[in-house]
Amino acid sequence: MKCRGVVFMCSLLTFALAPALSTAQEDAPASLALGATAPMASEQMKGVDGKDVSIASAAGKKGTLVIFSCNGCPWVKAWEKRMVEIGNSYSKRGVGVVAINANDPERSPADGFAEMQQRAKQRGIRYPYVMDATSEVARAFGATRTPEAFLFDAEGKLVYHGTIDDNAHEPNKVTKRYLREALDAMLAGKEVPAAETKALGCGIKFRPKA
C-alpha cells in the first residue's frame, strides 16, 4: 500500500483493514484486577503439616501474600531461595503468606503432596505451603504460571500481581526486586511502584474441571 502524502488517511485505512487478532488461552479466566479481593478465600486447602489452611485464615494484619508455586518448575527452583526468604521474613512483619500448589500431580508427578512436604522441609519454608486440590483457587485468581504472586493489603485489596524480580537465573544480576519493593511500599503505606509485572513461568497444570 502506497501512502505518500496522505499519511494520516493511510494510517486510518491501514487500521480499518487490519485483520483481527484472535487468541486462545487455556481455561483460566482473566487474571484478578488490582483492587480486587482474594476469591475463594475461605476454601480449605491441606498444608504440608497436615492442617487445613484457607487464604482467610492465613491472612495477616498488614497484608497477605499468595504465591502460586510448585515443586518441579525450573523457574520456581531458580527463584525458590529468594521466595522462601521473602515469605519467611515478611511473615514475621505482619504479612500473612501462603504458597499454593495447584498443579495436577497426574500431569506433573513432582507435585504430589509427599513431594511438597519434602520440599518444604528441604527449603525451610515456615509459612503454609498448601495443595489446591481442585485447581479451582488458581482458576478463580486467573493464575496461569508458577511462580506468580498476588499481594493484598490490610484491607484485602490486591496491590501487586506479578513476578519475584527481574532475573530468575542470575540473582546477582537482579536490578528490580518487584515483590520486595511491593511489600515494602505496602507496609510503608505507599503506592506500589510497579503493581503489575510479568516473567516467564511454567504453565499451571490444571486439573480437569469437575
Binding site: 487490519a18 485483520p19 483481527a20 487478532l21 484472535s22 487468541t23 486462545a24 488461552q25 487455556e26 487474571s31 525450573p74 531458580a78 500431569r107 506433573s108 496461569t144 504460571r145 513476578t163 527481574d166 530468575a168 537465573h169 509485572t197 510479568k198 516473567a199 516467564l200 513461568g201 511454567c202 504453565g203 499451571i204 497444570k205
Partner: protein, 162 residues
C-alpha cells in the same frame, strides 16, 4: 494491532543451511526474523526443553511446518531454556528432526513477553502466528494441536494479507 516493531537486526532464518543452530536472540531479533522471513505466514513458538506441554505439542508444530512450508509457512522456534540447559534444548531439537536455525531468548522477560503480546501472561508454551506483513494474527497461550494450529495457519495463508 500493528506490524512488528523494534526489530534490531532483521534476519530471515537460513533454511537452506540444513543445519540445526540455536542462536541467542533478543525479542527485537525474533521479530526481525519474522519480518525478514518473506513468507506468507510465520509461526513463532516459545518453548523449553523441560516443559511437558511444550514437548507434547512440538512434533505437531514441526509436522505442520513440513506440510505447509511449500505454501509459504515459516517456523521460528524460540527456546527459553536457561543457558546451562541449552544442551538439553539442542538434543530435543535434534530428536525432533529440526535441521534449521532456531533461537534462544536473551534479555528481559517482561519486555520479551509484552513485545510479543501484552495478552501473554508469560506461561509456556506460547504460539504466535504472523501474516506476510508481519502483523500478529493469532496468539495462543498453552498447548495446541496440529488441527488447531493448521486452521489458524490456513486462515492466514488464505487471507489477502497473508
Amino acid at each position: 494491532m500493528a506490524a512488528v516493531k523494534g526489530a534490531e537486526s532483521p534476519q530471515a532464518p537460513a533454511r537452506s543451511s540444513g543445519r540445526l543452530e540455536l542462536r541467542p536472540a533478543t525479542v527485537g531479533e525474533i521479530l526481525g526474523a519474522v519480518r525478514g522471513a518473506g513468507s506468507k505466514a510465520v509461526l513463532v513458538n516459545v518453548w523449553a526443553s523441560w516443559c511437558a506441554p511444550c514437548r507434547q505439542e512440538f512434533p505437531d508444530l514441526v509436522r505442520l511446518y513440513r506440510d505447509y512450508r511449500g505454501r509459504g509457512l515459516e517456523l521460528v522456534l524460540v527456546s527459553t531454556d536457561f543457558e546451562d540447559q541449552l544442551a538439553d534444548a539442542k538434543a530435543f531439537l535434534t530428536k525432533n528432526g529440526v535441521d534449521f536455525p532456531t533461537y534462544f531468548k536473551v534479555g528481559d522477560d517482561m519486555e520479551f513477553i509484552n513485545t510479543l503480546s501484552p495478552k501473554w501472561t508469560g506461561a509456556l508454551p506460547a504460539t504466535f502466528i504472523y501474516d506476510g506483513e508481519g502483523r500478529l494474527r493469532y496468539f495462543q497461550e498453552g498447548m495446541g494441536t496440529y488441527e488447531e494450529f493448521e486452521k489458524r495457519v490456513l486462515d492466514v495463508l488464505s487471507s489477502k494479507a497473508g
